[in-house]
Symmetry: C2
Subunit: 327 residues, 2 copies
Protein backbone atom coordinates (compact mmCIF):
# COMPACT_ATOMS: atom_id res chain seq x y z
CA UNK A 1 0.00 0.00 0.00
CA UNK A 2 1.37 3.31 -1.15
CA UNK A 3 1.28 6.88 0.13
CA UNK A 4 0.57 9.63 -2.42
CA UNK A 5 2.02 13.07 -1.75
CA UNK A 6 0.54 15.90 -3.79
CA UNK A 7 2.98 18.77 -3.81
CA UNK A 8 5.13 20.97 -6.01
CA UNK A 9 8.77 20.10 -6.71
CA UNK A 10 10.41 22.58 -4.35
CA UNK A 11 8.99 21.54 -0.99
CA UNK A 12 11.55 20.86 1.73
CA UNK A 13 8.79 20.12 4.26
CA UNK A 14 7.61 17.27 2.04
CA UNK A 15 11.24 16.12 1.79
CA UNK A 16 11.31 15.73 5.59
CA UNK A 17 8.25 13.45 5.54
CA UNK A 18 9.54 11.52 2.51
CA UNK A 19 12.73 10.74 4.48
CA UNK A 20 10.68 9.44 7.43
CA UNK A 21 8.52 7.29 5.11
CA UNK A 22 11.68 5.84 3.53
CA UNK A 23 13.00 4.97 7.00
CA UNK A 24 9.75 3.14 7.69
CA UNK A 25 10.00 1.31 4.36
CA UNK A 26 6.65 2.71 3.22
CA UNK A 27 6.28 3.03 -0.57
CA UNK A 28 5.32 6.47 -1.78
CA UNK A 29 4.65 8.41 -4.95
CA UNK A 30 5.16 12.15 -5.14
CA UNK A 31 3.08 13.99 -7.72
CA UNK A 32 2.65 17.59 -8.72
CA UNK A 33 -0.83 17.95 -10.29
CA UNK A 34 0.74 20.67 -12.47
CA UNK A 35 2.55 17.82 -14.31
CA UNK A 36 -0.72 16.17 -15.42
CA UNK A 37 -1.01 15.72 -18.37
CA UNK A 38 2.55 15.44 -19.63
CA UNK A 39 5.15 14.22 -17.14
CA UNK A 40 2.36 12.37 -15.40
CA UNK A 41 -0.59 10.46 -16.83
CA UNK A 42 -3.77 9.02 -15.42
CA UNK A 43 -6.55 6.64 -16.30
CA UNK A 44 -9.75 5.71 -14.50
CA UNK A 45 -12.32 3.15 -15.62
CA UNK A 46 -15.81 2.75 -14.26
CA UNK A 47 -17.21 -0.48 -15.64
CA UNK A 48 -20.16 -2.49 -14.26
CA UNK A 49 -19.76 -1.23 -10.72
CA UNK A 50 -16.01 -1.74 -10.61
CA UNK A 51 -13.54 1.09 -10.45
CA UNK A 52 -9.97 0.84 -11.68
CA UNK A 53 -7.67 3.80 -11.67
CA UNK A 54 -3.97 4.44 -11.93
CA UNK A 55 -1.46 7.21 -12.05
CA UNK A 56 1.79 7.04 -13.94
CA UNK A 57 4.61 9.36 -12.96
CA UNK A 58 8.37 9.23 -12.86
CA UNK A 59 8.39 5.76 -14.37
CA UNK A 60 6.12 4.43 -11.59
CA UNK A 61 2.60 3.11 -11.89
CA UNK A 62 0.31 3.64 -8.90
CA UNK A 63 -2.97 1.74 -8.78
CA UNK A 64 -5.84 3.37 -6.89
CA UNK A 65 -6.54 0.05 -5.20
CA UNK A 66 -3.01 0.17 -3.72
CA UNK A 67 -3.49 3.69 -2.38
CA UNK A 68 -3.08 3.91 1.38
CA UNK A 69 -3.35 7.64 2.01
CA UNK A 70 -3.08 11.01 0.30
CA UNK A 71 -1.20 13.98 1.72
CA UNK A 72 -2.26 17.27 0.16
CA UNK A 73 0.76 19.46 0.82
CA UNK A 74 1.39 22.24 -1.71
CA UNK A 75 -0.06 20.86 -4.95
CA UNK A 76 0.40 22.89 -8.11
CA UNK A 77 -2.59 23.82 -10.23
CA UNK A 78 -3.56 20.89 -12.47
CA UNK A 79 -2.14 21.16 -16.00
CA UNK A 80 -0.13 24.29 -15.13
CA UNK A 81 2.96 22.78 -16.80
CA UNK A 82 1.11 21.71 -19.95
CA UNK A 83 2.53 22.99 -23.26
CA UNK A 84 -0.69 24.92 -23.90
CA UNK A 85 -2.19 25.62 -20.47
CA UNK A 86 -5.71 27.04 -20.27
CA UNK A 87 -8.40 27.51 -17.64
CA UNK A 88 -10.47 24.84 -19.30
CA UNK A 89 -7.60 22.31 -19.42
CA UNK A 90 -7.02 22.99 -15.72
CA UNK A 91 -10.72 22.41 -14.97
CA UNK A 92 -10.80 19.17 -16.98
CA UNK A 93 -7.61 17.89 -15.40
CA UNK A 94 -8.73 18.81 -11.90
CA UNK A 95 -11.96 16.85 -12.41
CA UNK A 96 -10.13 13.86 -13.86
CA UNK A 97 -7.38 13.72 -11.22
CA UNK A 98 -9.31 14.57 -8.05
CA UNK A 99 -12.38 12.67 -9.29
CA UNK A 100 -10.22 9.56 -9.55
CA UNK A 101 -8.65 10.15 -6.14
CA UNK A 102 -12.06 10.78 -4.52
CA UNK A 103 -13.20 7.45 -5.95
CA UNK A 104 -10.46 5.61 -4.06
CA UNK A 105 -10.84 4.64 -0.40
CA UNK A 106 -7.62 6.25 0.77
CA UNK A 107 -7.42 8.43 3.89
CA UNK A 108 -6.86 12.13 3.27
CA UNK A 109 -4.66 14.59 5.09
CA UNK A 110 -6.65 16.79 4.47
CA UNK A 111 -9.60 16.16 2.22
CA UNK A 112 -9.97 19.15 -0.16
CA UNK A 113 -13.64 19.64 0.79
CA UNK A 114 -12.70 19.97 4.45
CA UNK A 115 -9.79 22.26 3.61
CA UNK A 116 -11.91 24.67 1.60
CA UNK A 117 -14.24 25.30 4.49
CA UNK A 118 -11.48 25.19 7.11
CA UNK A 119 -9.66 28.10 5.42
CA UNK A 120 -12.58 30.43 6.09
CA UNK A 121 -11.47 32.61 9.02
CA UNK A 122 -14.88 33.88 10.19
CA UNK A 123 -16.13 30.27 10.18
CA UNK A 124 -13.05 29.32 12.25
CA UNK A 125 -14.10 31.75 14.97
CA UNK A 126 -17.49 30.07 15.37
CA UNK A 127 -15.95 26.59 15.45
CA UNK A 128 -13.29 27.78 17.93
CA UNK A 129 -15.92 29.21 20.28
CA UNK A 130 -17.89 26.03 20.08
CA UNK A 131 -14.82 23.89 20.72
CA UNK A 132 -14.13 25.71 23.95
CA UNK A 133 -11.27 28.03 23.03
CA UNK A 134 -10.99 31.59 24.31
CA UNK A 135 -11.42 33.79 21.23
CA UNK A 136 -10.67 37.53 21.20
CA UNK A 137 -13.74 39.66 20.36
CA UNK A 138 -13.79 40.03 16.58
CA UNK A 139 -15.85 41.86 13.99
CA UNK A 140 -15.93 41.48 10.19
CA UNK A 141 -17.79 44.39 8.66
CA UNK A 142 -18.34 46.74 5.75
CA UNK A 143 -19.93 49.37 8.04
CA UNK A 144 -17.48 52.14 9.05
CA UNK A 145 -19.78 52.93 11.98
CA UNK A 146 -19.60 49.37 13.30
CA UNK A 147 -15.80 49.35 12.94
CA UNK A 148 -15.56 52.67 14.81
CA UNK A 149 -17.82 51.44 17.63
CA UNK A 150 -15.78 48.25 17.94
CA UNK A 151 -12.53 50.24 18.12
CA UNK A 152 -14.01 52.60 20.71
CA UNK A 153 -15.20 49.70 22.83
CA UNK A 154 -12.01 47.63 22.71
CA UNK A 155 -9.50 50.51 22.30
CA UNK A 156 -6.51 48.41 21.32
CA UNK A 157 -7.22 46.36 18.21
CA UNK A 158 -5.60 44.74 15.21
CA UNK A 159 -6.80 44.74 11.64
CA UNK A 160 -6.05 41.68 9.57
CA UNK A 161 -6.92 39.97 6.32
CA UNK A 162 -9.73 37.41 6.30
CA UNK A 163 -8.37 35.52 3.32
CA UNK A 164 -4.68 35.73 4.15
CA UNK A 165 -2.02 37.88 2.56
CA UNK A 166 -2.77 38.65 -1.07
CA UNK A 167 -0.59 37.23 -3.82
CA UNK A 168 1.38 39.60 -6.01
CA UNK A 169 4.07 42.15 -5.64
CA UNK A 170 3.85 44.88 -4.45
CA UNK A 171 1.36 43.62 -1.86
CA UNK A 172 -2.02 45.37 -1.94
CA UNK A 173 -2.71 44.89 1.77
CA UNK A 174 -0.96 45.50 5.07
CA UNK A 175 0.15 42.65 7.33
CA UNK A 176 -1.71 42.32 10.62
CA UNK A 177 -1.50 45.82 12.05
CA UNK A 178 -2.28 47.30 15.45
CA UNK A 179 -4.51 50.37 15.41
CA UNK A 180 -6.34 52.57 17.87
CA UNK A 181 -9.85 54.01 18.07
CA UNK A 182 -8.80 57.19 16.28
CA UNK A 183 -8.03 55.46 13.00
CA UNK A 184 -9.96 56.47 9.88
CA UNK A 185 -12.51 53.72 9.24
CA UNK A 186 -14.10 55.22 6.11
CA UNK A 187 -12.29 52.67 3.89
CA UNK A 188 -14.15 49.79 5.58
CA UNK A 189 -17.05 50.44 3.20
CA UNK A 190 -14.82 49.51 0.25
CA UNK A 191 -14.01 46.01 1.52
CA UNK A 192 -14.99 43.76 4.44
CA UNK A 193 -12.53 44.37 7.26
CA UNK A 194 -11.63 42.04 10.10
CA UNK A 195 -10.92 43.77 13.41
CA UNK A 196 -9.94 41.90 16.54
CA UNK A 197 -9.19 42.93 20.11
CA UNK A 198 -5.42 42.98 20.60
CA UNK A 199 -4.23 40.38 23.10
CA UNK A 200 -1.27 41.67 25.15
CA UNK A 201 0.82 38.56 25.06
CA UNK A 202 3.86 37.12 26.70
CA UNK A 203 4.26 34.42 24.04
CA UNK A 204 3.14 33.05 20.70
CA UNK A 205 1.98 29.45 20.72
CA UNK A 206 1.97 27.19 17.70
CA UNK A 207 0.13 23.92 18.23
CA UNK A 208 0.31 21.27 15.52
CA UNK A 209 -2.28 18.48 15.47
CA UNK A 210 -1.37 15.38 13.47
CA UNK A 211 -4.12 12.80 13.53
CA UNK A 212 -4.71 13.40 17.24
CA UNK A 213 -1.05 13.72 18.23
CA UNK A 214 -0.44 17.24 19.49
CA UNK A 215 2.79 19.24 19.51
CA UNK A 216 2.90 22.70 21.08
CA UNK A 217 5.72 25.22 20.92
CA UNK A 218 6.12 28.56 22.67
CA UNK A 219 8.11 31.60 21.61
CA UNK A 220 8.48 34.50 24.03
CA UNK A 221 7.11 37.71 22.65
CA UNK A 222 9.02 40.95 22.52
CA UNK A 223 7.00 43.80 23.97
CA UNK A 224 4.19 45.10 21.76
CA UNK A 225 4.92 42.63 19.01
CA UNK A 226 1.93 41.83 16.80
CA UNK A 227 2.80 38.74 14.77
CA UNK A 228 5.92 36.95 15.98
CA UNK A 229 5.52 33.65 14.22
CA UNK A 230 8.17 34.27 11.60
CA UNK A 231 11.41 36.22 11.43
CA UNK A 232 14.05 36.92 14.05
CA UNK A 233 12.77 38.22 17.39
CA UNK A 234 15.72 37.14 19.54
CA UNK A 235 13.63 34.31 21.01
CA UNK A 236 13.47 30.70 19.88
CA UNK A 237 10.58 28.22 19.69
CA UNK A 238 10.59 25.85 22.67
CA UNK A 239 8.38 22.84 23.41
CA UNK A 240 5.35 23.75 25.54
CA UNK A 241 3.09 21.71 27.81
CA UNK A 242 -0.50 21.53 26.55
CA UNK A 243 -3.23 22.27 29.13
CA UNK A 244 -5.90 19.54 29.21
CA UNK A 245 -8.71 21.87 28.21
CA UNK A 246 -6.72 23.00 25.19
CA UNK A 247 -6.12 19.40 24.14
CA UNK A 248 -9.86 18.71 24.42
CA UNK A 249 -10.71 21.85 22.44
CA UNK A 250 -8.22 20.95 19.71
CA UNK A 251 -9.80 17.52 19.35
CA UNK A 252 -13.29 19.01 19.20
CA UNK A 253 -12.16 21.53 16.61
CA UNK A 254 -10.42 19.04 14.31
CA UNK A 255 -13.40 16.73 14.63
CA UNK A 256 -15.91 19.46 13.73
CA UNK A 257 -13.71 20.65 10.87
CA UNK A 258 -12.80 17.10 9.71
CA UNK A 259 -9.09 17.92 9.69
CA UNK A 260 -6.44 15.21 10.03
CA UNK A 261 -3.76 17.93 10.10
CA UNK A 262 -4.08 21.41 11.56
CA UNK A 263 -1.73 24.12 12.84
CA UNK A 264 -3.21 26.39 15.52
CA UNK A 265 -1.91 29.83 16.45
CA UNK A 266 -2.57 31.19 19.94
CA UNK A 267 -1.52 34.28 21.85
CA UNK A 268 -0.62 33.46 25.47
CA UNK A 269 -1.55 36.35 27.73
CA UNK A 270 0.02 37.40 31.04
CA UNK A 271 -2.29 35.04 32.95
CA UNK A 272 -1.34 32.10 30.79
CA UNK A 273 -4.59 31.96 28.80
CA UNK A 274 -4.16 30.72 25.23
CA UNK A 275 -6.29 32.90 22.93
CA UNK A 276 -7.30 31.31 19.63
CA UNK A 277 -6.08 33.39 16.70
CA UNK A 278 -6.43 31.03 13.76
CA UNK A 279 -6.19 27.46 12.54
CA UNK A 280 -4.28 26.81 9.35
CA UNK A 281 -5.22 23.47 7.78
CA UNK A 282 -2.04 23.53 5.70
CA UNK A 283 0.28 25.32 8.11
CA UNK A 284 4.04 24.79 7.94
CA UNK A 285 5.74 22.74 10.64
CA UNK A 286 9.34 22.53 9.46
CA UNK A 287 10.48 25.65 11.33
CA UNK A 288 8.99 24.33 14.57
CA UNK A 289 10.58 20.91 14.19
CA UNK A 290 13.98 22.43 13.44
CA UNK A 291 13.94 24.61 16.55
CA UNK A 292 12.22 22.32 19.05
CA UNK A 293 13.24 18.89 17.83
CA UNK A 294 9.59 17.78 18.04
CA UNK A 295 9.10 14.82 15.67
CA UNK A 296 6.24 16.32 13.65
CA UNK A 297 7.41 15.02 10.25
CA UNK A 298 7.60 11.55 11.75
CA UNK A 299 4.06 11.90 13.13
CA UNK A 300 2.84 12.88 9.66
CA UNK A 301 4.67 9.90 8.18
CA UNK A 302 3.19 7.59 10.81
CA UNK A 303 -0.33 8.83 10.08
CA UNK A 304 0.14 8.45 6.33
CA UNK A 305 1.57 4.97 6.86
CA UNK A 306 -1.50 3.86 8.83
CA UNK A 307 -3.97 1.38 7.37
CA UNK A 308 -6.34 2.76 4.74
CA UNK A 309 -9.91 3.06 5.90
CA UNK A 310 -13.09 2.21 4.11
CA UNK A 311 -16.02 4.55 3.91
CA UNK A 312 -15.71 7.13 6.63
CA UNK A 313 -18.56 9.39 7.62
CA UNK A 314 -17.48 12.95 8.18
CA UNK A 315 -18.65 15.55 10.57
CA UNK A 316 -17.59 18.62 8.64
CA UNK A 317 -20.14 21.35 8.61
CA UNK A 318 -21.65 20.39 11.92
CA UNK A 319 -21.91 24.12 12.49
CA UNK A 320 -22.99 24.84 9.00
CA UNK A 321 -26.41 23.25 8.97
CA UNK A 322 -26.04 21.36 5.70
CA UNK A 323 -29.12 20.17 3.92
CA UNK A 324 -28.09 16.63 4.75
CA UNK A 325 -29.63 15.38 1.56
CA UNK A 326 -33.00 16.69 2.67
CA UNK A 327 -34.41 13.25 3.23
Amino acid sequence: MTVLILTCRQDVTADMVVARLHERGVPLVRLDPADVPGEASLSAEYVRGDFYGHLSTDGRLLSMSALRSIWVRRPGEPAAHAPEPSEWLTAETEQALYGMLYSATARWMNHPSASTQARCKPWQLGVAHRSGFAVPPTVVTTFPRVARQFATQYRDIVVKSASGPPAGDPPVALPTTRIGPDADFAGVAAGPTLLQQYVPKRADIRLTSVGGRLFAARKRATSDQVDGRYGATGHAWEPARIPDRIARAVRDYTDLAALAYAAFDFAEDEEGVWWFLECNQGGQFGFIELETGQPIADAVAAWLAGAPNGAVRVTSGALGGHGGGGL
Copy 2:
Protein backbone atom coordinates in the same frame (compact mmCIF):
# COMPACT_ATOMS: atom_id res chain seq x y z
CA MET B 1 -37.71 33.45 9.91
CA THR B 2 -36.41 34.49 6.52
CA VAL B 3 -35.23 32.69 3.39
CA LEU B 4 -32.05 33.98 1.74
CA ILE B 5 -31.67 33.49 -2.01
CA LEU B 6 -28.18 33.95 -3.40
CA THR B 7 -28.43 34.66 -7.10
CA CYS B 8 -27.71 37.18 -9.81
CA ARG B 9 -30.29 39.75 -10.86
CA GLN B 10 -31.43 38.11 -14.10
CA ASP B 11 -32.71 34.76 -12.89
CA VAL B 12 -36.22 33.83 -13.96
CA THR B 13 -35.99 30.46 -12.21
CA ALA B 14 -35.43 32.28 -8.92
CA ASP B 15 -38.40 34.52 -9.80
CA MET B 16 -40.63 31.40 -9.94
CA VAL B 17 -39.60 30.36 -6.43
CA VAL B 18 -39.89 33.91 -5.11
CA ALA B 19 -43.50 33.99 -6.33
CA ARG B 20 -44.26 30.71 -4.50
CA LEU B 21 -42.64 32.00 -1.30
CA HIS B 22 -44.73 35.19 -1.53
CA GLU B 23 -47.88 33.06 -1.88
CA ARG B 24 -46.88 31.22 1.26
CA GLY B 25 -46.25 34.48 3.08
CA VAL B 26 -42.64 33.52 3.77
CA PRO B 27 -40.26 36.49 4.13
CA LEU B 28 -37.25 36.39 1.86
CA VAL B 29 -34.17 38.37 0.96
CA ARG B 30 -32.56 38.10 -2.46
CA LEU B 31 -28.87 38.91 -2.62
CA ASP B 32 -26.24 38.87 -5.33
CA PRO B 33 -22.84 38.40 -3.65
CA ALA B 34 -21.45 40.52 -6.50
CA ASP B 35 -23.17 43.51 -4.81
CA VAL B 36 -21.12 43.13 -1.60
CA PRO B 37 -19.63 45.57 -0.71
CA GLY B 38 -21.60 48.45 -2.16
CA GLU B 39 -25.30 47.88 -2.78
CA ALA B 40 -25.19 45.35 0.02
CA SER B 41 -23.34 45.45 3.35
CA LEU B 42 -22.57 42.93 6.06
CA SER B 43 -21.37 42.75 9.61
CA ALA B 44 -20.55 39.79 11.83
CA GLU B 45 -19.47 39.94 15.46
CA TYR B 46 -17.94 37.12 17.46
CA VAL B 47 -17.86 38.19 21.08
CA ARG B 48 -17.52 35.92 24.14
CA GLY B 49 -19.01 32.89 22.43
CA ASP B 50 -21.93 34.76 20.91
CA PHE B 51 -22.33 35.34 17.21
CA TYR B 52 -24.30 38.21 15.74
CA GLY B 53 -24.43 38.80 12.03
CA HIS B 54 -26.53 40.76 9.62
CA LEU B 55 -26.84 41.57 5.98
CA SER B 56 -28.19 44.82 4.66
CA THR B 57 -29.51 44.96 1.12
CA ASP B 58 -32.24 46.77 -0.75
CA GLY B 59 -33.20 48.71 2.39
CA ARG B 60 -33.74 45.47 4.35
CA LEU B 61 -31.78 44.23 7.32
CA LEU B 62 -31.48 40.46 7.72
CA SER B 63 -30.22 39.07 11.01
CA MET B 64 -28.39 35.75 10.89
CA SER B 65 -30.44 34.59 13.87
CA ALA B 66 -33.59 35.05 11.75
CA LEU B 67 -32.21 33.04 8.86
CA ARG B 68 -34.32 30.01 8.03
CA SER B 69 -32.62 28.65 4.93
CA ILE B 70 -30.23 29.60 2.14
CA TRP B 71 -30.80 28.79 -1.52
CA VAL B 72 -27.61 28.96 -3.57
CA ARG B 73 -28.96 29.50 -7.08
CA ARG B 74 -26.70 31.43 -9.45
CA PRO B 75 -24.69 33.71 -7.15
CA GLY B 76 -22.37 36.24 -8.73
CA GLU B 77 -18.73 36.38 -7.71
CA PRO B 78 -18.34 38.33 -4.46
CA ALA B 79 -17.37 41.99 -5.00
CA ALA B 80 -17.66 41.66 -8.80
CA HIS B 81 -19.69 44.89 -8.92
CA ALA B 82 -17.30 46.85 -6.68
CA PRO B 83 -15.95 50.11 -8.10
CA GLU B 84 -12.42 48.68 -7.99
CA PRO B 85 -12.79 44.91 -8.22
CA SER B 86 -9.74 42.73 -7.63
CA GLU B 87 -8.99 39.08 -6.96
CA TRP B 88 -8.04 39.94 -3.42
CA LEU B 89 -11.23 41.93 -2.74
CA THR B 90 -13.20 38.97 -4.06
CA ALA B 91 -11.31 36.59 -1.75
CA GLU B 92 -11.84 38.85 1.28
CA THR B 93 -15.52 39.35 0.52
CA GLU B 94 -16.08 35.66 -0.09
CA GLN B 95 -14.56 34.86 3.31
CA ALA B 96 -16.57 37.55 5.06
CA LEU B 97 -19.92 36.71 3.44
CA TYR B 98 -19.80 32.91 3.34
CA GLY B 99 -17.98 32.79 6.69
CA MET B 100 -20.89 34.66 8.24
CA LEU B 101 -23.46 32.44 6.52
CA TYR B 102 -21.61 29.25 7.56
CA SER B 103 -21.73 30.51 11.15
CA ALA B 104 -25.54 30.62 11.06
CA THR B 105 -27.64 27.51 11.64
CA ALA B 106 -29.69 27.83 8.45
CA ARG B 107 -30.38 24.88 6.14
CA TRP B 108 -28.59 24.99 2.79
CA MET B 109 -29.83 24.09 -0.65
CA ASN B 110 -27.03 23.19 -1.40
CA HIS B 111 -24.13 23.76 0.94
CA PRO B 112 -21.15 25.02 -1.11
CA SER B 113 -18.86 22.28 0.26
CA ALA B 114 -21.26 19.60 -0.93
CA SER B 115 -21.69 21.34 -4.28
CA THR B 116 -17.97 21.52 -4.97
CA GLN B 117 -17.54 17.79 -4.65
CA ALA B 118 -20.88 16.98 -6.30
CA ARG B 119 -19.81 18.76 -9.51
CA CYS B 120 -16.97 16.31 -10.04
CA LYS B 121 -18.18 13.96 -12.81
CA PRO B 122 -15.77 11.04 -12.25
CA TRP B 123 -16.71 11.09 -8.55
CA GLN B 124 -20.39 11.06 -9.57
CA LEU B 125 -19.87 7.78 -11.42
CA GLY B 126 -18.57 6.08 -8.28
CA VAL B 127 -21.41 7.42 -6.15
CA ALA B 128 -23.93 6.42 -8.82
CA HIS B 129 -22.64 2.86 -8.94
CA ARG B 130 -22.73 2.65 -5.21
CA SER B 131 -26.26 4.04 -5.05
CA GLY B 132 -27.52 1.30 -7.34
CA PHE B 133 -27.86 3.08 -10.68
CA ALA B 134 -26.95 1.46 -13.99
CA VAL B 135 -23.95 3.45 -15.27
CA PRO B 136 -22.60 3.14 -18.82
CA PRO B 137 -18.98 1.93 -18.93
CA THR B 138 -16.78 5.02 -18.77
CA VAL B 139 -13.11 5.86 -18.94
CA VAL B 140 -11.27 9.09 -18.12
CA THR B 141 -7.75 8.93 -19.44
CA THR B 142 -4.68 10.68 -20.79
CA PHE B 143 -3.43 7.45 -22.47
CA PRO B 144 -4.28 7.31 -26.20
CA ARG B 145 -3.79 3.53 -26.02
CA VAL B 146 -6.40 3.17 -23.25
CA ALA B 147 -8.85 5.38 -25.18
CA ARG B 148 -8.33 3.30 -28.33
CA GLN B 149 -8.84 0.01 -26.44
CA PHE B 150 -12.01 1.34 -24.85
CA ALA B 151 -13.37 2.45 -28.22
CA THR B 152 -12.51 -0.93 -29.77
CA GLN B 153 -14.23 -2.78 -26.96
CA TYR B 154 -17.42 -0.71 -26.84
CA ARG B 155 -17.51 0.36 -30.53
CA ASP B 156 -20.14 3.07 -30.19
CA ILE B 157 -19.05 5.72 -27.70
CA VAL B 158 -19.43 9.38 -26.82
CA VAL B 159 -16.73 11.81 -25.79
CA LYS B 160 -17.71 14.51 -23.33
CA SER B 161 -16.28 17.13 -21.05
CA ALA B 162 -15.57 16.22 -17.43
CA SER B 163 -15.92 19.78 -16.16
CA GLY B 164 -18.81 20.86 -18.36
CA PRO B 165 -18.80 23.16 -21.34
CA PRO B 166 -16.00 25.72 -21.17
CA ALA B 167 -16.80 29.40 -20.75
CA GLY B 168 -15.87 31.79 -23.50
CA ASP B 169 -16.69 32.36 -27.10
CA PRO B 170 -15.78 30.74 -29.45
CA PRO B 171 -16.00 27.53 -27.40
CA VAL B 172 -12.73 25.60 -27.14
CA ALA B 173 -14.40 22.20 -26.85
CA LEU B 174 -17.02 20.15 -28.66
CA PRO B 175 -20.38 19.32 -27.07
CA THR B 176 -20.96 15.66 -26.24
CA THR B 177 -20.10 13.88 -29.49
CA ARG B 178 -20.58 10.33 -30.75
CA ILE B 179 -17.49 8.70 -32.18
CA GLY B 180 -16.39 5.29 -33.39
CA PRO B 181 -13.34 3.11 -32.80
CA ASP B 182 -11.55 4.55 -35.84
CA ALA B 183 -11.24 8.05 -34.37
CA ASP B 184 -7.78 9.52 -33.86
CA PHE B 185 -7.05 9.33 -30.13
CA ALA B 186 -3.57 10.90 -30.19
CA GLY B 187 -4.95 14.16 -28.73
CA VAL B 188 -5.97 12.35 -25.52
CA ALA B 189 -2.40 12.80 -24.28
CA ALA B 190 -2.88 16.57 -24.31
CA GLY B 191 -5.84 16.55 -21.91
CA PRO B 192 -7.80 14.01 -19.86
CA THR B 193 -10.66 12.74 -21.99
CA LEU B 194 -13.92 11.20 -20.83
CA LEU B 195 -15.28 8.44 -23.04
CA GLN B 196 -18.52 6.64 -22.34
CA GLN B 197 -20.37 3.80 -24.02
CA TYR B 198 -23.22 5.23 -26.09
CA VAL B 199 -26.64 4.20 -24.79
CA PRO B 200 -29.12 3.67 -27.66
CA LYS B 201 -32.08 5.37 -26.11
CA ARG B 202 -35.75 5.79 -26.65
CA ALA B 203 -36.01 8.75 -24.27
CA ASP B 204 -34.17 11.27 -22.15
CA ILE B 205 -35.17 11.36 -18.49
CA ARG B 206 -34.70 14.35 -16.20
CA LEU B 207 -35.34 13.60 -12.55
CA THR B 208 -35.38 16.47 -10.09
CA SER B 209 -34.94 15.75 -6.38
CA VAL B 210 -36.07 18.48 -4.00
CA GLY B 211 -35.47 17.53 -0.39
CA GLY B 212 -36.68 13.99 -1.01
CA ARG B 213 -39.59 14.92 -3.31
CA LEU B 214 -38.92 13.49 -6.75
CA PHE B 215 -40.17 14.71 -10.13
CA ALA B 216 -39.35 12.80 -13.29
CA ALA B 217 -39.96 13.86 -16.86
CA ARG B 218 -39.49 11.93 -20.11
CA LYS B 219 -38.80 13.25 -23.59
CA ARG B 220 -38.88 10.84 -26.52
CA ALA B 221 -35.62 10.71 -28.37
CA THR B 222 -35.29 11.16 -32.08
CA SER B 223 -33.19 8.42 -33.62
CA ASP B 224 -29.45 8.61 -32.99
CA GLN B 225 -29.77 11.78 -30.97
CA VAL B 226 -26.94 12.31 -28.47
CA ASP B 227 -28.05 15.05 -26.06
CA GLY B 228 -31.72 15.90 -26.31
CA ARG B 229 -32.16 17.83 -23.11
CA TYR B 230 -32.35 21.24 -24.69
CA GLY B 231 -33.51 22.62 -28.01
CA ALA B 232 -36.35 21.60 -30.31
CA THR B 233 -36.57 17.89 -31.12
CA GLY B 234 -40.25 17.72 -32.00
CA HIS B 235 -40.97 16.00 -28.68
CA ALA B 236 -42.09 17.55 -25.41
CA TRP B 237 -41.21 16.74 -21.80
CA GLU B 238 -43.94 14.68 -20.14
CA PRO B 239 -44.29 13.53 -16.54
CA ALA B 240 -42.84 10.05 -15.97
CA ARG B 241 -43.47 7.40 -13.34
CA ILE B 242 -40.42 6.68 -11.17
CA PRO B 243 -39.49 3.01 -10.67
CA ASP B 244 -39.04 2.12 -6.98
CA ARG B 245 -35.40 1.13 -7.37
CA ILE B 246 -34.65 4.45 -9.03
CA ALA B 247 -36.32 6.32 -6.17
CA ARG B 248 -34.20 4.36 -3.68
CA ALA B 249 -31.02 5.00 -5.66
CA VAL B 250 -31.78 8.74 -5.86
CA ARG B 251 -32.21 8.89 -2.09
CA ASP B 252 -28.96 7.00 -1.54
CA TYR B 253 -27.16 9.28 -3.96
CA THR B 254 -28.42 12.57 -2.50
CA ASP B 255 -27.66 11.24 0.98
CA LEU B 256 -24.08 10.26 0.08
CA ALA B 257 -23.54 13.55 -1.73
CA ALA B 258 -25.33 15.65 0.93
CA LEU B 259 -27.50 17.36 -1.69
CA ALA B 260 -30.86 18.91 -0.83
CA TYR B 261 -31.40 19.67 -4.51
CA ALA B 262 -30.20 17.61 -7.47
CA ALA B 263 -31.15 17.20 -11.12
CA PHE B 264 -30.38 13.76 -12.59
CA ASP B 265 -30.06 12.96 -16.30
CA PHE B 266 -30.74 9.45 -17.50
CA ALA B 267 -30.91 7.76 -20.89
CA GLU B 268 -33.84 5.30 -21.10
CA ASP B 269 -32.93 2.37 -23.33
CA GLU B 270 -35.22 0.15 -25.41
CA GLU B 271 -35.77 -2.18 -22.44
CA GLY B 272 -36.78 0.69 -20.20
CA VAL B 273 -33.55 0.78 -18.15
CA TRP B 274 -32.60 4.24 -16.90
CA TRP B 275 -28.85 4.72 -17.38
CA PHE B 276 -27.23 7.32 -15.12
CA LEU B 277 -25.51 10.02 -17.17
CA GLU B 278 -24.93 12.77 -14.65
CA CYS B 279 -26.25 14.57 -11.61
CA ASN B 280 -26.23 18.36 -11.67
CA GLN B 281 -26.42 19.86 -8.18
CA GLY B 282 -27.51 23.19 -9.62
CA GLY B 283 -29.49 21.98 -12.64
CA GLN B 284 -32.28 24.09 -14.11
CA PHE B 285 -35.88 23.03 -13.59
CA GLY B 286 -37.87 25.87 -15.15
CA PHE B 287 -38.06 24.25 -18.59
CA ILE B 288 -39.39 21.02 -17.07
CA GLU B 289 -42.00 22.78 -14.96
CA LEU B 290 -43.20 24.83 -17.94
CA GLU B 291 -43.72 21.76 -20.13
CA THR B 292 -44.95 19.22 -17.58
CA GLY B 293 -46.74 21.40 -15.06
CA GLN B 294 -44.85 19.62 -12.26
CA PRO B 295 -44.76 21.94 -9.22
CA ILE B 296 -40.98 21.94 -8.76
CA ALA B 297 -40.68 25.64 -7.88
CA ASP B 298 -43.31 25.12 -5.21
CA ALA B 299 -41.41 22.13 -3.84
CA VAL B 300 -38.25 24.27 -3.62
CA ALA B 301 -40.26 27.00 -1.87
CA ALA B 302 -41.74 24.46 0.55
CA TRP B 303 -38.29 23.09 1.41
CA LEU B 304 -36.87 26.58 1.92
CA ALA B 305 -39.87 27.50 4.06
CA GLY B 306 -39.30 24.50 6.37
CA ALA B 307 -38.05 24.96 9.91
CA PRO B 308 -34.36 25.73 10.27
CA ASN B 309 -32.33 22.94 11.73
CA GLY B 310 -29.59 22.99 14.30
CA ALA B 311 -26.30 21.26 13.84
CA VAL B 312 -26.65 18.63 11.18
CA ARG B 313 -24.05 15.96 10.62
CA VAL B 314 -23.33 15.34 6.99
CA THR B 315 -22.44 12.21 5.16
CA SER B 316 -20.64 13.78 2.23
CA GLY B 317 -17.49 12.03 1.26
CA ALA B 318 -18.67 8.65 2.44
CA LEU B 319 -16.91 7.40 -0.65
CA GLY B 320 -13.98 9.68 -0.28
CA GLY B 321 -12.39 8.33 2.86
CA HIS B 322 -11.92 11.64 4.67
CA GLY B 323 -9.47 11.84 7.49
CA GLY B 324 -12.39 12.26 9.84
CA GLY B 325 -10.32 14.45 12.11
CA GLY B 326 -7.87 11.62 12.56
CA LEU B 327 -8.88 11.10 16.15
